[in-house]
Amino acid sequence: MKYVLMYVSRPDLDAGADPEATQALYKRVFEWFGENAGVMADSGAELLGVETATSVKYGEDGPVVVDGPFNEAKEIIGGFSVIEVPDMDAAIAVTKTWPLLDFPGGSVEIRPMVEDYSHMEQ
């Protein structure tokens, strides 16, 4: 099965981190992707902060472009990958080793990917 891992972070907690520690962490994340290359269907991307986000939304007279979203949530999606493993337990086992889980506020959301569209075939 394919699962999307969404790496959640807390920018408010990351803000005060010392640059050397951040550098070391990047190195570990890089190694982590190496160790898990076998299950990566798509290593995905790291995202720049929400302050750089732009949304295009429905508008009555056609799509509207706005700055944001700036919701109040402290937790934001900082990146994502797609893994392919036999089942949920395997997905959890991979996720548990994500280096940022050693830090308060670190979290990863696991979402199964829709793969089977056979029910749409009429």
């Binding site: 089942d87 949920m88 997905a91 959890i92 199964p112 056979s118 029910h119």
Partner: protein, 406 residues
Amino acid sequence: MTDAPTDRLLAQTLREEAGPLVARLSRRYGDFDLAEEAVQSAVAEALTGWRRDGPPDNPAAWLQVAAQRNALDAVRRSTRQRALARRAEPAGDRRPGTDDRLALLFACCHPALAPEARLALTLRAVVGLTTPQIARAFLVNESTLAQRIVRAKRKIVDAGISLAVPPADQLSERIGDVLAVVYVMFNEGFVSSSGPTQDRDLAADAVWLAGVTATAVPGEAEAWGLAALLTIQHARAASRFDGAGGLVLLRQQDRSRWDHAAIAAGEAMIERAAALRRPGRYQLQAAIAALHATAPSWEETDWLQIVLLYDVLAGLDRSPVVRLNQAVARAQLGAPEEALAQLDSLATPLASYHLFHAARAELLTALDRHDEARDANRTALGLTANDAERRLLTTRLHRHPLDDGS
């Protein structure tokens, strides 16, 4: 009208057969939801048919045929299920056994499921209860419960939660989730047995499931600890209520009515657990329960050992109810002031727990502070006041079998 012996036979047959059947049909059709639904319908058919006509000669085979027929009907009805069935493993005719049931149990108690759904799903899929029976036992709305179960089952199928026993290196961690569900199941049964007559004895089902689990993972000390704890607590069931249905506290229970063979069996399980040399909270609670269950009277109970065990337990489990029980045991050693001070430090978390006030009243009486004792008793009474549901809910919040001292 239900006929008690038939219900007991029904319950035993259903809990023996339902789980392995769900596991086998899940494998055959590659769809846990379909399998579980098929068995659930067969269980409901059995409840109606067997009560009306008496049980068939071979209840297990009857249930199997009914569930198989329901599963096939569902496959024919649904495209989605036809697609899932195509993905299924080839149907090897492996005999359903303990491993099958254990795999199912691990899926139903999976940490990725909502905690409140785990117990309900376990009761349905593993123990063979129907949704109305579960709703009655928990005093919850049937459609809310049904929704919860549907969501959990969909998640098992859609999120790819396998019906599998975890590998050895994860077993000890994952068994904790299973044991927690069985523990809560027993407490629900233990507490709600004061309610209206039920056609399933949840506490007896939990004792059975704890035994099945420990037997299936014989190297897990806490699994034996839980099986021992529930076996010993359940052995006192007959004496917990008086003729009028009132609760009888441990101190006043008629000890000759306890099931001494079951208590001995529980003690043997404690020894089995101890031989594995990995102590834990269920084993400690079992050891405390065993000391109560083997004491000739309340006064002749080995309070010193009980206090020592509570001291160790409180180190592992800082819940206020454990500390309340620790204080109550300490008071038996003749230190009521010290016990009262410990109790008073728990006043905030246990403010709405009637037994906190009842225990306090008792200590205040021992200290000749009768006015305060009367106030505490009044508070305790106000919190229960024959309001069975409220008492049930309060006790349920804390979920410890010895909480009500009964």
